[in-house]
């Protein structure tokens, strides 16, 4: 892709950022900025605020399941409609579960890890002064913020927030009388998702165009860090997989407000009232939703794996193992991710032949994924591990990816899934994968690149404690939920105590709830460390971890426009274990002194 014209062009620094120059006012510099670093940080801050909301909702869920009959007097004052008399209403519980999932998937992990770090890292790591389309990038953030605010607003409308699950299956999501959350809350949910997709399209387009068109000279595709590869592939997957949900959202809105019958079947009776709809297909929604939903999982998890792969070498002081095969694994996973969505629908009455097909392709995904995981493990082989905070989180990614991934083997198999579908086994599995792998990678990235972003170090001691307060309870909660699922505990149930066979899971639920509260409490330590370090952290040098990629060759924080002159890249991103004047590594731009 790098034409000679382009090489010369970018060497002379011509592909200059179109953003405001540093002498411009506060508003253009920090609020309406087109600088990819500011936009990345805006995404990260927005995502972290949304994570606080999502975690509070998780706390509410666990209070209900851990102590089912307890009266929470203080909470009833805070949320008089949700917990009248201190006990949660079933409708509120459903809204809380729905919004917890929606916010964590789309507004925490997507914003912080994918859009936040994607924006911050990709231009720096490809040696560009900014994204290919800086104004579009700014627009992407503002639409994303509007999407998040819209979603939050749904808590305050008549009937409360959406309550049909983060998957919004009709008829529950299509008929306002079905559940209070399906009144205005569901409409707002759909509009917010449409905004999210519009924003993601703008961001994804930018990442692909940036990687293709403004790579520094010498930076061939096969010299890119795995971080850039993972964002690049995730962006392409997102661009292709998200539009169908826009189509589905349009049709669901029409069903909800204009009396059409895309998803609503004939003969439906809701709240003792027969609906006039004819012939619609609720399964059609499931197909369209999961055509987005499953690739979305990979849009989140690929960057998590890429980031972990790039954090680790700085602490193993050796190259990653099997770089080329890892890249091709990412490509293979991306392709396969587009054709496996049906494994979410094994119990929908699909033909056994379709089920067999979806089982086979799903199990086929485990081949490249396992190769990738083995490459990560082999990267540790013979390393003198330096267990700094980012390294701990990156190792946590491998641990959760391995153990959580095993559950996928059961769920990808139609026969086993029939039994496990919609039980806590599924909840445990996906929390370990798109919850845990991505969350640990997000924290790893925050600790690793914090010095670069803000020019200060975070506290190591607090960071390590935060790791253990995150990893241990997280693993406890979701490992145990697998067993709850094996015992037949269904997900999304508000009062499991109403069923005899689930009475004996009370103890397990209590332990899970206590672990969840420890987990959430542990995050306060992170917040305190983050905010304290922003203002009072030790000053960071240009390259505190002794890492090789291009962002570590510029000041911390990098100046506007990133590079004074566009760097000339001379090697791949994993040149560790060789002696140079910088230490036991060679930055990607380093050239050995000419002999003679």
């Amino acid at each position: 892709m790098t034409s000679p014209a382009h090489v010369e062009a970018s060497r002379s620094g011509r592909v200059a950022p179109r953003g405001p120059e540093p002498h411009q006012g506060f508003l253009r510099r920090y609020i309406f900025s087109t600088d990819h670093k500011i936009i990345g940080i805006q995404y990260i801050f927005t995502g972290l605020v949304m994570a606080i909301v999502g975690a509070s909702l998780a706390a509410l869920i666990r209070l209900q399941l851990g102590w089912p009959e307890h009266q929470w007097v203080l909470l009833s004052r805070l949320l008089p409609r949700g917990l009248p008399g201190g006990v949660m209403t079933p409708e509120f519980y459903l809204a809380v579960v729905t919004m917890h999932g929606t916010i964590m998937v789309f507004f925490f992990i997507s914003y912080v890890l994918v859009s936040g770090f994607g924006n911050y890292l990709v231009p720096l790591q490809v040696g560009a002064k900014d994204m290919a389309f800086p104004v579009l990038n700014m627009l992407s953030y503002w639409v994303a913020l509007a999407s998040a605010l819209t979603m939050l607003a749904s808590f305050f409308v008549e009937g409360g927030a959406a309550a049909a699950g983060w998957t919004a299956y009709p008829p529950l999501s299509a008929v306002p009388a079905a559940v209070p959350g399906s009144q205005m809350g569901q409409t707002i949910w759909l509009l917010s998702m449409a905004l999210f997709i519009a924003s993601f399209t703008m961001g994804g387009l930018n990442i692909v165009a940036t990687v293709f068109s403004v790579r520094a000279p010498g930076l061939s595709m096969m010299r890119l860090p795995l971080t850039v590869w993972s964002y690049f592939i995730a962006a392409i997957v997102g661009l292709l997989a998200f539009p169908p949900l826009t189509a589905a959202a349009v049709m669901l809105l029409l069903d909800r407000h204009f009396g059409t019958s895309f998803f609503l079947p004939a003969g439906l009776v809701v709240a003792n009232k027969a609906l006039p709809n004819t012939g619609g297909s609720p399964l059609l929604w499931q197909h369209l939703f999961w055509f987005l939903g499953h690739p979305e999982v990979y849009v989140l998890i690929l960057p998590a794996l890429g980031v972990a792969c790039d954090i680790l070498p700085a602490f193993t002081r050796k190259p990653v193992f099997g770089y080329r095969s890892s890249v091709w694994c990412l490509v293979a996973v991306a392709c396969l991710s587009m054709i496996v969505w049906g494994h979410h629908m094994f119990v929908s009455g699909m033909s056994p032949f379709s089920g067999e097909y979806f089982s086979l392709v799903t199990l086929a995904i485990t081949v490249p994924m396992t190769m990738f995981g083995v490459n990560m493990l082999a990267s540790l082989w013979g390393a003198k591990l330096q267990l700094h905070t980012p390294a701990l989180f990156a190792l946590g990614v491998i641990a959760l990816f391995g153990s959580g991934g095993l559950g996928g083997l059961f769920l990808g198999n139609a026969t086993a899934d029939m039994q496990l579908h919609d039980t806590y086994f599924v909840v445990g599995h996906f929390h370990m994968m798109i919850g845990g792998v991505t969350m640990l990678a997000t924290f790893g990235a925050l600790y690793f690149w914090f010095p670069k972003m803000f020019g200060r170090r975070m506290s190591e001691a607090a960071g390590k404690l935060h790791f253990w307060l995150t990893f241990a309870p997280f693993f406890t909660i979701f490992f145990m939920q697998h067993f709850l699922g094996l015992e037949g505990a269904p997900r999304r149930y508000y009062a499991f105590t109403a069923y005899d066979y689930l009475q004996r899971t009370r103890g397990q639920n209590l332990v899970i709830s206590v672990a969840a509260l420890v987990l959430i409490g542990g995050q306060l330590l992170f917040l305190a460390n983050f905010i304290w370090s922003l203002f009072r952290g030790r000053a960071a040098t240009e390259n505190p971890w002794g890492a090789t990629t291009l962002e570590w060759t510029v000041a911390s924080p990098p100046p506007h426009g990133n590079f004074e002159t566009i760097p000339l890249v001379r090697r791949w991103a994993y040149e560790y274990g060789i002696q140079t004047p910088q230490g036991d590594f060679a930055p990607q731009t380093w050239a050995p002194p000419q002999a003679g």
Binding site: S3, A5, H6, A9, S10, S12, G13, R14, V15, A16, P22, H23, F26, Y30, S33, I38, I41, K129, A132, F133, T201, G204, L205, V208, A209, S213, V214, L239, L240, A241, F242, P243, P244, T246, A247, A248, V250, M251, L254, F258, G259, T260, S261, F262, A266, T278, G279, G280, L284, H287, L288, F454, G455, R456, L534, A555, P557, P558, P559, H560
Partner: protein, 205 residues
């Protein structure tokens, strides 16, 4: 917030080196073309989703064939004429006949607007005939597909109108204008193709 912590707070050290505008424009054009094609890929996926929904819904028991108003054929011709006008503008630009290029661009935009007006009239005709949005699944799809297509067309028309307006200064920057024309042609002909696809789908019933 301590502003010194934030990235751009550093001293302005990046005074850009001397620029070569011709090469800069070339890279920019490559980027815009790449961006456009990726955007069109998302549009293709959107219509693929509508089409698959259409095919699934078509197998329902309540599916009744629906006669499209003849007007849609006239609209199709108008859209084809608009595409031809765009091509004429492109050829005129290459021959440096700027007055002709501008006139052809204005014709393309006007015909595009004519298509939209025609589509609106087709909607009214359908409603008058009783084929409203919620009347039958086929009519629901008629409005959704034509509506989604029209919304994309409005965006493309804005790009066309902007290029038509730039025709005045094209004499000074013929390369810039021809790059803009290339975006217009890809975008507009692509949406023309999408319209033929939508029309074929609606005729399936």
């Amino acid at each position: 917030m301590n502003l010194a912590l934030l990235p751009s707070a550093g001293a302005a050290t990046d005074a850009p080196p001397r620029l070569d505008p011709r090469r800069a424009a070339l890279v920019r054009q490559q980027q815009v073309r790449l961006g456009l094609w990726m955007f069109l890929a998302t549009v293709a996926m959107l219509f693929a989703a509508f089409a698959s929904a259409y095919l699934v819904r078509r197998s329902g028991s309540d599916w009744h064939p629906l006669a499209l108003p003849r007007l849609v054929w006239v609209n199709t011709l108008v859209l084809a004429a608009s595409s031809s006008a765009l091509e004429a503008a492109h050829r005129a630009g290459r021959a440096r006949r700027w007055t002709g290029a501008r006139a052809a661009m204005i014709a393309a935009v006007a015909l595009g607007l004519g298509f939209l007006a025609g589509q609106l009239a087709a909607w009214r005709l359908m409603t008058v005939r009783g084929a409203s949005l919620a009347a039958s699944p086929q009519s629901s799809f008629f409005y959704v597909l034509t509506g989604a297509h029209a919304l994309h067309l409005v965006t493309a028309l804005a790009v066309l109108a902007w290029t038509a307006a730039a025709a005045g200064s094209a004499r000074r920057d013929p390369h810039g204008w021809s790059a803009q024309m290339s975006v217009c042609r890809t975008f507009w002909h692509f949406l023309g193709g999408v319209w033929l696809f939508v029309l074929a789908l609606l005729l399936l019933s």
